[in-house]
Point group: C2
Chain length 406, copies 2
């Protein structure tokens, strides 16, 4: 078996995906049974085009220590879907390249679509009796992977969302003599975990955000207007959080009522504008001052609100993935199992990657309440440990000091 | 003369306006010649309606120490413009109320419009020979007040903008095999200081944001497209920063090409959508992948990127204002005078508030270069000291712990 390790990042970036890269690379570089640690530049797509870097350079100049506090994907990412048909010539081509680099261990850090890549590569490996071990390291701000308590990336994104919504609520309240509505649009195509995390922003019972809408329930525009109207009776400066993916009972996305949408490479609908649409709706129906704020890419790339818990878990997942691969595991994803909630205790494990890829874990129905306009205490108890701990990001000239490829 | 102090906040919030409130309140509460420190709830408009709080309660429970790291306006704000005509009955009404509370010292923390309030009150006071002293304490993220090197609020907003643009650039670069344009829309109606601060995000020469457009120069859509096209030749994932207030040589705001705009109470045009408009323009003309990000209210309300220099200066301005008032000054605003740049040394002073209100300080023409698509090294040397130093915001349950009125 090849004595070298290959690691890549795929899908949308998160604030801690480089933490997992750090975990994999450092463990690999330190382990005597691993000769070289190679990084795929721009994922499996870049690897196919021969874009590979030797990760030992980051150890030599010490810059590897900047990885866990650098957002984005240091190695670059891709959205490349391997063919469903394992007879496709891309598979032997890839495995020839693996052999060329004498790869024995393969790690892919990503979400559902990346686990699909790990699944296909490990199944193809089995079919040709290749000894290469393929392991998935989870990351997604969406927190929608099954068979794991949560995924690295969610904690920091949740902390960013809760912090920002608390700040937006403070900002909205400065003119409290005039009624106003602020609609905050949060990432989450099908799963509302990140939108639900906005509930953490409340400083006391009944505090903003008063209304929270997830894509797990059908969104009714008339019920929404009536709920906003009722909420404005007790909260002058109302903050409403919505998921970008809210839709009605016919399955029509709310943003589709406003504008045309396209689809991405994976056939996902590209969403934009649910907040803007509802802003106009509230203005039209209730005549109050309304604004909408789209949290946008900062949710997944901000280093300002890193959760120490999340960063440590991202690193641990990467490191543990190398351990398990060396023990012989393949075709699995690293999972998190909550042993205890108070105090919070997490155990790492593995699960069959074939059962994870292309599946999605929604927020459970029993954690959604008030006719789909809020989340329960159970959700808060689940999410709270994941945002704990502050991470000091090294500064240079007054700004966060990030590592980047030249 | 009344032995009590009255302080209020007005205009849009900033991340450090509560730092100045802290400076005024603490100095007032500690000074033996001041009996009571009162806060106007929702500025002069709230005061007229009898909304006043005793600030000593914050000293008693120690919560005053949370003020400097709490964004927004603790006392609440207003956008109330006093009548131009000093014969208006609101003036004697206000001064009757000042006497009722035995006010001798009046402090108003705000921007141009708030200085207009200080100007009118001090002029009316002179006309009736009132001994009350009126002092303006500057704050604005826009940094557009004249007769001062800069204003508290700008440093933290600039740090937020530069940090966030650096993070957005990192996020944009993860798929560097595909050309893309990210347009970031930054606050600033007439003055481009905050948009200019995005240049601080560059990690090396030629780094993103490659193109920066301020409202100080006329924006030419054809020249813009040609500059984007040229920049894409050397930067695959281009980040462009624009001020919300960019306009063409006819004075038409770029966003007006997209949608209707209204005006606020002060007759300012309400802007939205320049970024969105240019996103569509680039897509249409160049056919590349484009997205636009509106930084929105987080620029003025984020506690995550507080500049230690800014927080300290905001506190000092408040404290110095009380000193100067006790020395007999009135009708002035506290100013910052840069004594030295390296190392940075700032001296506090005062200037006639009548010369400040309703005037605006643009970014100097000699600090704008490359046909209006960049800022010079001189601007960077000016701005860099203002974003220095990290502030640890107290956390509670994993989120920033803010003080708020119950």
């Amino acid at each position: 078996m090849g004595k070298n390790l290959l690691v890549g990042q795929s899908g949308g970036p998160t604030a801690v995906i480089n933490g997992s890269l750090y975990g994999v690379a450092k463990k690999g570089l330190e382990d005597v049974s691993v000769d070289h640690v190679y990084g795929m530049v721009n994922g499996i797509e870049g690897f196919l085009n021969g874009h590979v870097m030797d990760m030992s350079t980051l150890m030599e100049d010490g810059s590897i220590e900047l990885l866990p506090t650098t957002p984005g994907a240091y190695l670059g990412s891709c959205r490349y879907k391997l063919p469903e048909n394992l007879d496709d010539p891309v598979y032997p081509e890839l495995f020839r390249k693996f052999d060329e680099y004498e790869i024995g261990l393969f790690f892919y850090i990503g979400g559902n679509d990346s686990m699909d890549t790990v699944s296909k590569l490990s199944r193809y490996a089995a079919s040709i009796e290749s000894p290469i071990r393929f392991i998935g390291v989870p990351k997604t701000i969406d927190n929608d992977l099954v068979l794991t308590d949560h995924t690295p990336g969610f904690g920091s994104a949740a902390k960013y969302v809760a912090t920002t919504v608390r700040e937006i609520a403070v900002d909205a309240s400065v003119y409290d003599n005039k009624k106003s509505v602020t609609i905050v649009e949060i990432m989450g195509r099908h799963a509302g975990w990140l939108t639900a995390a906005s509930a953490l922003a409340r400083k006391f019972e009944g505090d903003n955000p008063v209304l929270i809408y997830l894509p797990e329930t059908d969104f009714d525009q008339e019920a929404f207007i009536s709920q906003v109207k009722t909420a404005l009776e007790t909260t002058s400066n109302l903050v409403v959080c919505i998921s970008e993916g809210i839709h009605d009972d016919k399955g029509t996305f709310i943003c589709e009522y406003a504008s045309e949408v396209g689809t991405d490479n994976f056939g996902h609908k590209m969403l934009t504008g649910s907040g803007k649409y509802l802003e106009n709706l509230v203005k039209d129906k209730l005549g109050v001052k309304v604004r909408s704020v789209e949290l946008n890419v900062c949710q997944r790339c901000s280093s300002s609100c890193l959760s120490a818990t999340d960063v440590e878990e991202a690193k641990a997942a990467g490191s543990y993935a190398v351990e398990r691969a060396l023990l012989g595991d393949t075709g699995v994803m690293i999972t998190f199992n909550r042993a205890k909630n108070e105090p919070y205790e997490m155990e790492l494990g593995t699960a069959d990657v074939n059962q994870i890829c292309n599946a999605e874990k929604p927020v459970p129905a029993e954690w959604i309440c008030n006719d789909g306009s809020d989340v329960t205490e159970d959700f808060l108890r689940y999410a709270l440990p994941l945002i704990q701990g502050h991470v000091e990001v090294p500064e240079k000239d007054g700004l966060p000091h990030f590592i980047f490829r030249k």
